[in-house]
Symmetry: C2
Subunit: 491 residues, 2 copies
Amino acid sequence: MAKKDEKRFITPKSEDASQWYTDVILQAELADYSPVRGCQVYRPYGFAIWEKIKAHLNGRIIATGHENCYYPLFIPKSLLDKEAEHVEGFAPEVAWVTHGGGKQLDEPLAIRPTSEVVIGVMWAKWLQSYRDLPILHNQWANVVRWEKATRPFLRTLEFLWQEGHTAHRTEAEARAETAKMLEQYRRHAGEDLALFVIDGIKSESEKFAGAVETYGIEAMMPDGKALQSGTSHFLGQNFAKAYDIKYLEEDNTEQYVWTTSWGVSHRIMGGMLMAHGDDKGLILPPKVAPVHVVIVPIARDDDRPLVLEKCQGLARRLREVVYDGAALSVKVDDREEFRPGYKFAHWELRGVPLRIEVGPRDIEGSTCIIVDRLSGAKHELQVDYATYELDAESVSAKLENLQAALYARSREEVMGRIHEVESYEEFKQVIAEGRGFALAAWDGTAETEQRVKEETSATTRVIAAEPPGHNVKCLFSGGPARYRAYFAASY
Amino acid sequence: MAKKDEKRFITPKSEDASQWYTDVILQAELADYSPVRGCQVYRPYGFAIWEKIKAHLNGRIIATGHENCYYPLFIPKSLLDKEAEHVEGFAPEVAWVTHGGGKQLDEPLAIRPTSEVVIGVMWAKWLQSYRDLPILHNQWANVVRWEKATRPFLRTLEFLWQEGHTAHRTEAEARAETAKMLEQYRRHAGEDLALFVIDGIKSESEKFAGAVETYGIEAMMPDGKALQSGTSHFLGQNFAKAYDIKYLEEDNTEQYVWTTSWGVSHRIMGGMLMAHGDDKGLILPPKVAPVHVVIVPIARDDDRPLVLEKCQGLARRLREVVYDGAALSVKVDDREEFRPGYKFAHWELRGVPLRIEVGPRDIEGSTCIIVDRLSGAKHELQVDYATYELDAESVSAKLENLQAALYARSREEVMGRIHEVESYEEFKQVIAEGRGFALAAWDGTAETEQRVKEETSATTRVIAAEPPGHNVKCLFSGGPARYRAYFAASY
């Protein structure tokens, strides 16, 4: 809806990244607030980005042997109550349906905050023999968690996500699955969204309610805070025992399965948007950009028909170019009511990776100007406007370069903002000044974690793979350090 | 989960189509009942069919200029109450969320039974100028309607669907949109699902709550009942006025928009499954079949390795064949624990369009047997088992023929069961004996409709395009006939 743009104004990201984020989401028409607190509307451009993200992640899930399915929205209260830790963790966030069909229900129905429960009940019904294992299911669904403070994409009451659920014969196989999907999430963030993330195991206090172990990927936002962007849970036999998910082994004994679950939500999209943008607006990684190239005609009234015709011809030609396994998405901005400068700003705000400008002199000179959204660099591209012959590979190469450059920038940014701190004083500074993640030696106790959280607002994000050296002391308690952990304030 | 199959048993369709349907849905592992009444679980094979249907219908929606987006699950009660007819129609079916985050909510939230309301509220917020029109939105979502009697796919409390919502400057444009999407639905049913449907306008009593006019497509089930399989509503300015959806016209006057909405749910999948199957199970139209070809090795222990190797090679070759714009989906059933006859039944139950059988003698003779699920006809196909050279086009031609034959059969079946009745006596026989649809002259009054419904259980499905001749009398009241309408009992 073009008219809104005329009032466009976004706070520079360099001044206030948080306000910039809200401004961009609204002004670029990605999402809007709905009449229900904390529930967002996905407008077409925002939803198109989400559909691209979904296609990439879904491809990884299917390629690793999982099958899509769909389990119901509702969970009867009595079933939710069966896994004690799980219900304790989720009960405060549940929305309850109490009336339906004009009557009060005999039993309240929870709107799924996650689907381990209803899936567990079905598996217990279906599963018979070891031949039925593994079960490798995934669903794309909406879930509801009654959050207090909300922000578009980053934290909403209703959110869209995928949740994978698997059951295995052995502990080792379930642990391998947990690790495999964490790795897929890390690669999805890096290769598809150009987001460098830190991955690792979560502390006991930060793990999923009902899990034995939770692993996660954490992205770093411009204010130095962490954004948990995906989690993979090894559930042991907790849900198997609570929901009686058993099978007959080859040796004729009845056994409980070992289960996992793992999820990525639209939150990762919020993180991607916030990480890559600049003062002009979004910068979309080409792999998830709904529009790869926008062509802006530079014309006055008398040469408009010719210029528009050449722009359309160029667009047709570019749509024959294959990028990331599909046709390039090309848009000609032929709106008569706006000037080129306005259009440049419009598409920069929306993060379109490449802009092509075509004016009468370009046509005469058999060329066009191509501008890269990340660097802003302008290049000339030769075009034969009779045949539309051009160096198509240089266009897809530009997209590939932009994707790679965004990732490299993300990696450099995050690596440069991980501070291996030597004292609690230094730790506090890193956190208070929003300098990034603090990597600190920690005694591994929940008490220390809790104290640090109260004193600094930082929590453990994930535990580093490399343990502390011999005789290293915990930064906070002075006791023996058990882990090195990444600490940060978080969204 | 293979083990379940050993208990397989389906009621022959020729004996009891209704029981056959339930048996097939459960035994072919398309769906199952969940712990919540009326809410189904989509198992992977059933969901894969739904994903194929969705891809085809989504393609049509996008190709006709619409954009996907996503609006929230919840609608505050006060907003739902604004369009009087709409709320009156839907209130009895609404599920209400009354508690969230451990507290009673200030205002109950309806779970969307359809999204005109929340969409209307957002449009009123966004819409400014005539330049913003038309708005052409679509969403794929879950909705909830508290139904009494439920059946998998055909009628469930929670169901998956797409709902299109559009806003236009003029009445003519909105009416054209309503007609365009009805036509897309008719073509989707016919061309993608091989379902011949009757289309037309609904009577006043059968229209959507809040619409000016509702159009629908109606499929015929084996028991002669109608299944409403898609509807397209011209909403006039009813929602525009209730939700204040206005814009500034070119002449600077404020105007209400004209809106439409249209939806197809997983119900159409149920109708497709029921219409095409036979005593052996499902028959899937190739365009929506998750597996196009299953290869069954016919081998004893000593020749198993060779036969399996050749089956895998053949599968690899067939996966290079393009059908309906994508790679052929080919499965080799290499399970050792089952005999070929069992496997034939397994895949027949699941409706896989083509089966290929490969045994040692086929390999020697450079051939394989290919069997068509619809006709059961067996043909030999030449295969060079060294190079896997074969006539790939004959395989995709078989799929195209099967798709066309299924549609032709559906068309013939439906056309043969439309009875242009001359008396109420004949009408009653057609309905009571489940012979199909009765096409009858009707005075067009709701009173007559109501009487016929009470006396025969049949309702008007759609009104025929061709009006009754001059001086034709209503079959029921003896008054002047206003319309010719299709009557049937319905799901």
